[in-house]
């Protein structure tokens, strides 16, 4: 079955440690209104100092109108996505793999990201993003895959903006911490009323 493949590589001017800290704190952000929930299901530090994590995300299931007409049942549920990741301090990499665990016959999107810090360029981080889009629907796999790839490209732009937004918040919090001992930590990535999350660099 022919699927679609996407590949991109970009460097951002932020230290790897900051990028990773932001990776865990990127939701919510102004570009992630389609992400409804985020949960950590599992975490473990291995004996060789790698951090394994599993997150569950819920996203809205936005389909083009032609797909809504063909697959009316698809509207009923959000998309559930598992994101597994490995942080390797030894080689300064974070590798994540995310895929949807429902609506998978309609369309399966597997996304792999690698965030790489390089020793000789400490203020830069390389981000490699790959995706594979496939559909198991007989006779419609091509338009579904095209749609999936187009949506992925658009989401990729949002994801980068979201990450940059989280990085910018962390940098502001850092400036505040160093400048003022009375107001130790700024609440920046807050969602609502009561308990606001704190940010640490």
């Amino acid at each position: 079955m022919m699927g679609k493949h996407f590949f991109s590589e970009t460097d951002i001017k932020s230290a790897w440690e900051q990028v990773l800290t932001a990776f865990w704190q990127r939701y919510p952000n102004p570009y992630s209104t389609h992400v409804l929930t985020e949960d950590v299901l599992f975490r473990e530090v291995t004996p060789d100092n790698r951090l394994l994590s599993r997150r569950l995300l819920t996203k809205t299931n936005r389909l083009p109108r032609w797909a809504e007409r063909v697959f009316p049942g698809n509207l009923s549920r959000s998309v559930y996505i598992i994101e597994d990741s490995v942080v390797d301090l030894g080689n300064r990499s974070l590798t994540s793999l995310a895929w949807n665990v429902n609506h998978a016959k309609f369309m399966l999107v597997v996304e792999r990201c690698v965030f790489m810090g390089e020793q000789d360029r400490p203020v830069w981080t390389r981000i490699t993003r790959e995706a594979w889009v496939s559909s198991g629907v007989f006779g419609l796999s091509r338009p579904i895959q095209e749609f999936g790839l187009a949506r992925f490209r658009s989401n990729q732009v949002k994801a980068m903006r979201g990450l940059e937004h989280a990085l910018s918040n962390l940098q502001k919090a850092s400036a505040t911490c160093h400048g003022d001992s009375a107001e130790k930590h700024k609440n920046l990535n807050s969602t609502s009323e009561t308990q606001k999350p704190q940010q640490y660099i």
Partner: protein, 74 residues
């Protein structure tokens, strides 16, 4: 950010706060001292697992890094 379990969001926030602090101040600096967040995680985890069962979210038995191991290892 909300948890998939409506009643778990507060527990999630407490855990996230603990984790973010530990991650930046300990893990990234190579400090291998004991994880201070395990109790918070346990409470949060119990709540979320209940919600996952209630909503019938199909995550049971999904292998780490999924069926697409060849992509992860390439």
């Amino acid at each position: 950010m909300n948890s998939v379990g409506e009643g778990c969001t507060e527990l999630k926030r407490e855990y996230d706060q603990c984790f973010n602090r530990w991650f930046a101040e300990k893990f990234l600096k190579g400090d291998r001292s004991a994880d201070p967040c395990s109790e918070l995680f346990h409470k949060y985890h119990t709540c979320v697992q209940k919600a996952i069962k209630e909503k019938d979210i199909p995550i049971e038995g999904v292998e780490f890094m999924g069926p697409n191991r060849e992509k992860a290892d390439s």
